[in-house]
């Protein structure tokens, strides 16, 4: 019972989706699935997820998956990888899990050059709890805890850029977007290749959240393009 349009590693029983209509995770996970299929790494891939909307992917893949506490994906997959060197470990977290509560571990994982792959989903808000401000919220952005755009920081946190201060030269740091699937896919592929070569890799992805942005389809794409103007896509380190 396989659907030719979905990657083999995606459980067909996972549909209908747990994600909101218009969520970027649908694209991100499918692209990741395609890469896993094409690289034929499913038998040795382990998937780690955080708290927040990514936790809805807990039974998305036919992969061993562990959901952890908020911000603890990077130490968990580091511990796993060290214990099973032949595995491929992929962790997903959102703006809170990587840049707020998980920031300390995120930086240290890169600093130790752990051979793991981290995917960070950036939609500039804490979506699952109802759209509160995130470290990726831009100046004067209106969110659940920045009414009228008050209390925002002038500069948001730029994840891949920040890691250049801590990461190894051989690490791969990039930012993609759900608006450009072929490029995003190439980043995921390069990230896993980097892990296989023994180095840290991180891909941040600009993603959609129409539910908390309170946008219709067209406005959702517009808002994501606005995020892309702030957060430049491209390879930040490790060509």
């Amino acid at each position: 019972m396989s659907n030719p349009r979905f990657p083999k590693v995606v459980k067909t029983e996972s549909k209908p989706s747990n994600f909101c209509p218009g969520c970027g995770y649908g694209i991100i996970l499918k692209v990741l699935g395609e890469v896993i299929d094409e690289m034929e790494i499913a038998p040795r891939t382990v998937f780690g997820i955080d708290i927040g909307c990514n936790l809805l992917a807990w039974d998305y893949f036919n992969l061993d998956t562990a959901q952890t506490h908020h911000g603890r994906v990077t130490p968990m997959i580091s511990g796993y990888k060290m214990s099973q060197k032949d595995s491929v470990v992929i962790g997903i977290a959102g703006d809170g899990g990587l840049y707020a509560i998980g920031l300390q571990s995120f930086i240290h994982t890169a600093h130790r050059n752990e051979p793991v792959t981290v995917i960070g989903v950036n939609n500039s808000v804490y979506a699952m709890t109802g759209g509160q401000a995130a470290p990726t919220t831009f100046d004067h952005e209106i969110t659940d805890t920045t009414p009228d755009g008050k209390f925002t920081s002038k500069k948001p946190i730029f994840g891949p850029e920040m890691l250049t201060e801590f990461a190894d030269d051989k690490a791969f740091l990039a930012r993609g977007s759900v608006n450009n699937i072929p490029v995003l896919k190439s980043y995921f592929k390069k990230a896993i290749e980097t892990q296989l070569a023994g180095n840290f890799s991180f891909v941040e992805v600009i993603s959609y959240c129409p539910t908390n942005w309170k946008t219709n389809a067209e406005a959702t794409i517009d808002f994501s393009k606005k995020l892309e103007s702030i957060y430049k896509t491209g390879i930040i380190s490790g060509k």
């Binding site: 908020h70 911000g71 920031l103 509160q132 401000a133 008050k150 209390f151």
Partner: protein, 355 residues
């Protein structure tokens, strides 16, 4: 529950527990809030952000996590602000780190907790499984005060009182609610105003304080603790609260607290109408615990029915408290992470009564 009436609040309003907790804190003079979003108490964080956006006297920090939130609160307390926070579940676990410091430093740390299912992320919904954490979390001797409101009316009262108790006696105070209380919209009378003492800064007030929470020898810590035990015991006499409802002639006594406590009270009224001799002991302070009143409540008891939405957090306290005081049979109505309705309790009591 006596108090002054205020004239400028529309007295009866339709509000959720979270909204009432926020209003109670503001009425008590709360002026600093640091926190992190977590269901089911996120509305307190965002509600505070909205009032703080309009009132520069109210300070607001959305922190990077709960641990940081607790330490920001501590900083604000040292500066003399009536600071507080709100959390739940795993956030409550993380708060034990700063709470341990607040215990050691005798800081008036006020926190609302909306209990949810555990362990780990559990559910975002409801439980009574964080009782032990609230009473004895951290690595100390549980020198904190825990109030357990049974409904929104009590929540409004004890949220205010928490600030008074905290600043009067200088122990952390936790108002231990739950996800149902937090999220249920119901009618609440907001006319009551509790007298709350003023706050004052620890630092930059003319007298230098050098504070440490680390001691070199056992003796030093033992002295520090000894002083705290003494003050906690004295404060307890004034702070402890409970309700004994229709227990004087009861052969069956229900022990319940928080939201389940109120369900039990209504169940007792219904059962008494059916001529069942049942009563309720409901602690209001979970710490310190009203041992004297609990023992008195079971004088005639043949059966003690412990009803809680956990697998024994409360039951263990009850059994320890009543160890020498009763020969009654314990019946457990334990529903971990699940609600216990008035019908559930009535059904159980009728079962026990017909034994």
């Amino acid at each position: 529950m006596a108090g002054k009436k205020t004239n400028n609040i529309v007295t009866k309003q339709l509000l959720t527990g979270n909204e009432v907790a926020l209003k109670g804190a503001l009425l008590a003079g709360a002026n600093f809030f640091a926190g992190y979003p977590i269901t089911p108490t996120t509305e307190i964080l965002s509600g505070w952000a909205k009032v703080a956006a309009k009132d520069p006297k109210l300070k607001f920090l959305q922190m990077e996590d709960e641990t940081a939130s607790g330490f920001a609160v501590i900083g604000a307390l040292l500066a003399g602000k009536k600071a507080w926070t709100a959390t739940a579940g795993m956030g409550h676990v993380l708060m034990q780190d700063p709470l341990a410091l607040a215990e050691s430093y005798r800081l008036p740390f006020v926190m609302y907790v909306g209990q949810r299912g555990g362990p780990s992320t559990g559910t975002v919904i409801y439980s009574q499984q964080e009782l032990t954490l609230a009473r004895y979390g951290g690595n100390g001797e549980g020198l904190r005060i825990v109030y357990a409101p049974a409904n929104v009316g009590e929540l409004y009262h004890y949220m205010q009182k928490a600030f008074d108790t905290a600043w009067k006696y200088r122990f952390p105070v936790i108002v231990l609610g739950d996800g149902y209380l937090s999220k249920t919209q119901t009618t609440v009378d907001l006319s009551e105003k509790v007298d709350v003492v003023k706050s004052s800064p620890y630092f930059l007030n003319g007298k230098i304080k050098n504070m440490r929470n680390c001691f070199s020898t056992e003796d030093q810590l033992v002295d520090h603790l000894g002083f705290m035990f003494k003050e906690f015991a004295e404060a307890s006499e004034e702070i402890v609260e409970s309700e004994s409802f229709r227990t004087a002639d009861s052969e069956i006594v229900i022990f319940a607290w928080g939201s389940v406590g109120y369900a039990a009270k209504v169940a007792v009224v219904n059962l008494r109408n059916k001529k069942v001799k049942v009563g309720l002991f409901r602690p209001i302070t979970m710490r310190p615990f009203d041992t004297k009143a609990a023992i008195k409540a079971v004088k005639k008891a043949k059966y003690i029915v412990i009803a809680e939405s956990s697998a024994g957090h409360f039951g263990r306290i009850v059994r320890e408290t009543l160890a020498q005081a009763t020969d009654a049979t314990y019946i457990r109505l334990y529903k971990p992470a699940e609600g216990i309705t008035t019908e559930d309790i009535e059904e159980k009591i009728l079962e026990v009564a017909n034994v």
